[in-house]
């Protein structure tokens, strides 16, 4: 009956001109396929990066085998390449950066969630997050022209004098104060990853159920005791996840480090000496690399970096997913 009245309607012709159901279904299927293909393309990017790097790195891996990972010769003239010095530099600078950034970042998160007046929370939070928005090249130029001279004139001579006579630490802080070097790179990295740690830690702290905290306060706990006894244990996985996310950033950070690391393929005991990282080596040498083996070795470095950061970031995401489930449940 409904169709009959429709047919008698004067707008019947207009209805006929509207796309047929089949056409609508076709467009619908096409749109679905298009979006699905786009989603799969994201996976394709990851696969493509892995594959392209593996293919590009193949000549170097064939020539040096697994020795590539633990030899530290880097000689373009004799075409002998080993990744140990860049790997060492990457790991050490990131580790020191985390040692500085984690306490400060968590401190900021505590300040923002527990102490800060409500009206200031948003502005201060945004200001900290802006630190994450500053491009890495800016950190690099700032590190080279502002931070390095300060370290060279003030901090490093002090460290050398202070730790010089101490047996082990004397070697760690030995040498002339260059200004640039591993320690400088680590400090820049610390500033760069600080906002990530602070923002994520703040977010997971906010997911701690208020009743838990209120119960602890009700027992007479101080703020410190509530944070150490209730908030941090509850949010631990999330905080660690956030720190690992920051670690992933620090490991892969390129430009800022390239400016201040000194780019020397050496493994010094001293943190004040120049060194190199995987990403800085690639950035500095790739366009100047002559010969297939040199290029392949640099791509192999890129592959190592990608695999390391992939593992760290994957672990971070799994941990953050766990805390999100816990808060949702």
């Amino acid at each position: 009956m409904a169709e009959l009245t429709l047919a008698q309607d004067t707008r019947f012709t207009a209805v006929r001109k509207a796309p047929s159901l089949r056409r609508i279904a076709r467009v619908d299927a096409f749109f679905r396929a298009l979006t699905r293909a786009s989603a799969l393309a994201v996976l394709g990017v990851l696969g493509g990066v892995m594959l392209a790097l593996a293919i590009g790195a193949f000549p170097a891996l064939k020539a040096f085998g697994f020795e590539f990972l633990w030899t530290h010769t880097w000689n373009p003239v004799t075409e002998k390449f080993g990744a140990l010095a860049p790997i060492y530099g990457t790991v050490v600078t990131s580790a020191i950066a985390m040692a500085f950034a984690v306490p400060i970042g968590v401190g900021i998160a505590i300040f923002l969630t527990e102490i800060c007046p409500r009206a200031l929370r948003r502005p201060i939070g945004i200001a900290i997050e802006l630190l994450a928005g500053i491009p890495s090249i800016i950190y690099g130029i700032w590190g080279l022209f502002v931070l390095a001279p300060v370290l060279q004139r003030g901090v490093q001579p002090f460290l050398i004098d202070l730790f010089g006579p101490v047996p082990v630490l004397g070697a760690v802080f030995a040498g002339p104060p260059y200004g640039i070097g591993m320690l400088t790179a680590a400090l820049i990295l610390a500033i760069m990853v600080l906002p990530f740690i602070a923002a994520i830690t703040r977010d997971v702290f906010e997911q701690v159920p208020a009743v838990l905290k209120e119960a602890a306060f009700g027992l007479g706990c101080t703020t410190r005791e509530v944070i150490r006894g209730v908030v941090i244990p509850y949010a631990r996985v999330g905080v660690i996840g956030g720190c690992m996310l920051a670690l992933g950033r620090a490991l892969g950070e390129t430009m800022a480090v390239t400016f201040v690391i000194g780019n020397a393929h050496k493994i010094h005991a001293s943190l004040l000496g120049p060194g190199t990282t995987i990403s800085a080596t690639i950035a500095n040498e790739f366009t100047e690399a002559v010969g297939d083996l040199y290029t392949a070795s640099l791509i192999a470095l890129g592959l190592i970096l990608f695999v390391i950061t992939f593992l760290v970031l994957a672990a971070a995401r799994l941990m953050l997913a766990r805390i999100a489930r816990k808060a949702g449940a």
Binding site: I24, V27, D28, F31, R32, T35, R36, S38, A39, A41, V42, L43, L46, V49, A52, G56, G105, G107, I108, I110, F111, E114, I115, I124, I126, I128, L130, L131, G133, I134, P135, S136, I137, I138, I141, W142, F145, V146, L194, T222, R224, E225, I227, L245, L251, G252, E253, T254, M255, I282, A283, F286, I299, G302, L305, F306, T309, F310, L313, R317
Partner: protein, 282 residues
Amino acid sequence: MKPASPLYALRRRRNALFLGQSALATTVGLGCLAVILATLAVKGADGLSLRVFTEMTPPPGSDGGLLNAIAGSLIMTFLGVLFGTPLGIFAGTYMAEYGRHDRTTAVVRFVNDILLSAPSIVVGLFVYEVMVATLGHFSGLAGAVALAIIVVPVVVRTTEDMLVLVPDPLREAATALGAPRWHVISRIAYRAAKAGIITGVMLAVARISGETAPLLFTALNNQFWSADLNAPMASLPVTIFQFAMSPYEDWRRLAWAGALLITAAVLILSVAARALNARKGP
């Protein structure tokens, strides 16, 4: 209130120390931001003049500007967003609209989150392998593709997040009126999530306009004016890198001017994106 016992006094002291430390940490963080911005403002303003916008990058030892670098950055950023945004929006659409509880979506979300923080220099290596090594020359196009790969995860993430926030009754109402699925998505969901999606694109622009590492061996650099996408193209970040590392005083001055320009652009974009999201967002 007077402390009742030595233990209580100790706890109060520890608490004050603890809170003091966290306030100190915040001061350190804000201090870093202030010092960096102040340095940029002072040193950047020193090198900034009208010539920066009207003249090409100079050979060492002479005056000049950054015009070709600024133009190159604008071209490659524009193309990067042009290539990356549709892909990102469509992928986010699938994840939020069609496959919200799919396994595919879970996997794509996981991978996308990793790509979001993956080292950008690796993206540069990838595009070098795929486009520069095979075609045999550096090109502005390769630079744009490298930037597009960085745009995609940012846009995917915000698009998905924003579409998920669109209330289901809106979709149900549209469907009940007889609208086909793609109509529901494009006319209802996209419209409701518009501010959020635009925010995502703005954040992506902010992210790539300062990216240097992926351009180093894709677009390379160019001392001269060039709008040819098949030729090496100058960009502001790579020029800053080259000029800052040089021993020439006037090159360094230009590097600081460029650094100020980029930072101002990036910070204005991210603050604007936040403001847009705060006003229209959930």
